[in-house]
């Protein structure tokens, strides 16, 4: 193994696409087989590198959507990729990559925007668009661990058709005790935005000292984090991840 050369450090490895499904008309989940995958925490991401025949390469970060369990028989890793029509990497991953194809992958990485099942506080998840992906990994990990921590997800998305994992979320709200999901639709009349009233009504009171995770485009992340602070949440309990528009 190449990794043995520098123990503890990370290198690129080949991942093979072994499954896929569309979550929305523009978001595709890639099921990847990654040999010697060490496991991951919900919220972590991977870097994907594509290299053209002329040597030009482009690298992007994608959140892991799946939960990992050491004892599970399914050892695959799932990424959900939102296609950006003017993007350099994402259209290849959503529209061109076929079963059996390989991509270069580095990870799992990131130790800050993660939720550990040992955390006991209630959790508030605020998702803007495809920012739901790492938060879904947290919901799945809680479900797999049969976690008792109360979880609330506020998911801001353009229309109901743009919501990833909609069926699974409604199933989990039914089957995973203590999980609530509230949708905010920004392109359905009457148009809504994430605002103080929404987070106040569907989040947790600051007195509960919940762990808050906010993921989405920069404008969403900044608006949501500012509202949380204004509502009295401790900034140290707010973790954010910004999705860029360059993928």
């Amino acid at each position: 193994m190449a990794r043995a050369a520098l123990p503890g450090r990370l290198t690129w490895r080949a991942a093979t696409l072994v499954g896929e499904r569309w979550e929305t008309p523009s978001a595709r989940t890639l099921v990847l087989d990654v040999p010697d995958w060490p496991g991951h925490l919900p919220g972590q991401h991977v870097d994907v590198r594509l290299t053209a025949p002329d040597g030009y390469s482009a690298q992007r970060s994608y959140s892991i959507a799946s939960a990992w369990a050491d004892n599970a028989t399914d050892k695959t890793v799932e990424l959900t990729v939102q296609r950006l029509d003017d993007g350099e990497v994402s259209p290849y991953l959503t529209d061109t990559l076929e079963i059996g194809d390989q991509i270069e992958l580095r990870g799992p990485v990131g130790g800050w925007f993660v939720w550990r099942p040992a955390q006991e506080k209630p959790v508030l998840l605020l998702a803007g668009g495809s920012g739901v992906v790492p938060l879904m990994a947290m919901i799945r990990a809680r479900g797999a661990a049969k976690g008792k921590q109360p979880f609330r997800l506020i998911y801001s998305v353009r229309t109901p058709e743009d919501a990833c994992y909609a069926q699974e979320l409604s199933r989990r709200v039914r089957d995973d005790p203590g999980l609530d999901v509230h949708f905010v639709h920004t392109r359905v009349t009457p148009r809504k935005r994430i605002d103080v009233a929404t987070i106040n009504s569907y989040g947790w009171p600051a007195d509960f000292t919940p762990d808050c995770y906010v993921c989405g485009p920069t404008t969403f992340v900044e608006a949501a984090a500012d509202i949380l602070v204004a509502l009295g949440h401790d900034p140290k309990r707010i973790r954010t991840e910004r999705f860029g528009g360059t993928s």
């Binding site: 991401h45 580095r106 990131g110 800050w112 920069t218 954010t240 991840e241 910004r242 860029g244």
Partner: protein, 87 residues
Amino acid sequence: MNPLDGNAMAGDLRELFTVDVTAARYTCAGCGHAEAVGALVLWGQDMGRVGRCPHCEDVVLRVVNAPDRVFLDLHGSVRLELPLAGS
């Protein structure tokens, strides 16, 4: 272009260090604000990246990738506080 954040530097930094630096807390040399490296506002692309303090926008960290080496400039950070494994 929209900025990313320090979380997106995790892979590059993990090739250099055996610990995850994005979970470390930096203290900004400009304003004294302390926060996780993952929360830095990140500009730039594959060749070089600049992490700015979300509080005062000063440059806290720069990573530049040359073909055979990496330049890491921590000039804007007074200190880094690194959590050890399991914390």
